[in-house]
């Protein structure tokens, strides 16, 4: 999530004036962290552990609170993230707790929107992949060990054998199977391995 957007979402909470530090984090990393903790990474791990324990028995706490001498810690749980808030004084717990719940809900909404957009882009990329888009790259790879005209004939014959039209859509698994058939026509094993590595690299670029 964009740090400017996150700062904007957190602003109403920070503006309460009762907040000594905030962390927004998922299981892998902190997206924002200003917690005054000795070991913030360990603390984040412990907070996941607490809610994981509840999840095992089918419970989903919206918020947890812990108080210490002169300060408090609030923890809000979303599906994808946690929001931890350290307070200057525990008497702000109720007000800050309500504000933190609202902020956490907004982070969750933004997170869901971003996930949908990212997944949508990936789907669009897969839908747009056609044989004619991939043929030049496959031909270029084969041409490293075969004559260019021979590489072109091999691909054309394989497409015909599989009754494929060049404007038909394809995907990485189909391309991988298609490439294996092409490699069977390359005589030397060492050359086949070289080309297989090149093709694997090309297929990875299609997935990234």
């Amino acid at each position: 999530m964009d740090s400017d957007l996150l700062s904007k979402i957190l602003k109403p909470l920070i503006d309460l004036g009762a907040v000594a530090g905030v962390s927004v984090f998922d299981r892998q990393r902190a997206l924002h962290d200003s917690l005054p903790a000795r070991d913030a990474a360990e603390l984040r791990k412990v907070l996941w552990e607490i809610t994981d324990g509840y999840a095992k028995v089918g419970r989903q706490p919206q918020q947890l609170a812990f108080g210490f001498n002169g300060s408090g810690l609030l923890v809000c749980s979303g599906t994808h993230h946690k929001l931890a808030v350290v307070l200057h004084a525990p008497d702000q717990l109720e007000i800050a707790g309500r504000a933190a719940l609202a902020v956490s809900a907004e982070i969750e909404r933004e997170w869901a929107t971003l996930s949908r957009e990212t997944n949508g882009r990936k789907s669009a990329r897969v839908r747009l992949l056609r044989w004619q888009d991939c043929e030049p790259s496959l031909r270029a790879v084969l041409s490293k060990v075969l004559a260019s005209a021979q590489a072109e004939r091999l691909i054309a014959r394989e497409l015909a054998d599989r009754k494929l039209q060049k404007d038909q859509p394809t995907d990485v698994p189909q391309l991988r199977a298609f490439s294996e058939s092409l490699l069977a026509h390359v005589p030397l094993k060492s050359r086949r391995e070289l080309l297989r590595a090149e093709i694997d690299h090309y297929l990875e670029t299609l997935q990234s």
Partner: protein, 89 residues
């Protein structure tokens, strides 16, 4: 919200009835983690309260100056606000 206290190592309502196993389990679970968190914050004095909010339910308990545990659980007005007010935090 139902109030409870710790007496002779047991968590009891004012009526003398023991709290539910869920409440007792939550108090034990949150106390364990509150101590861990206090350590992460270098708060040598330990923790003073812990609470949980989930749909339709709240639990909040605090340790008073004498070390006794006082808590509330259930639905209704916020147990967090009430207990903090009563403790003078």
């Amino acid at each position: 919200m139902d109030a409870f206290t710790e007496r002779n190592g047991a968590l009891l309502h004012a009526s003398g009835q023991p709290v539910s196993t869920t409440v007792a389990g939550d108090v034990e679970y949150l106390t364990h983690y509150a101590r861990l968190i206090a350590s992460a914050f270098s708060r040598g004095g330990g923790f003073t309260f812990a609470g949980i909010r989930e749909p339709g339910n709240e639990l909040f308990f605090r340790i008073d100056r004498s070390g006794a545990l006082l808590g509330v659980s259930g639905t209704g007005e916020s147990g967090w606000a009430r207990m903090l007010h009563e403790s003078g935090s």
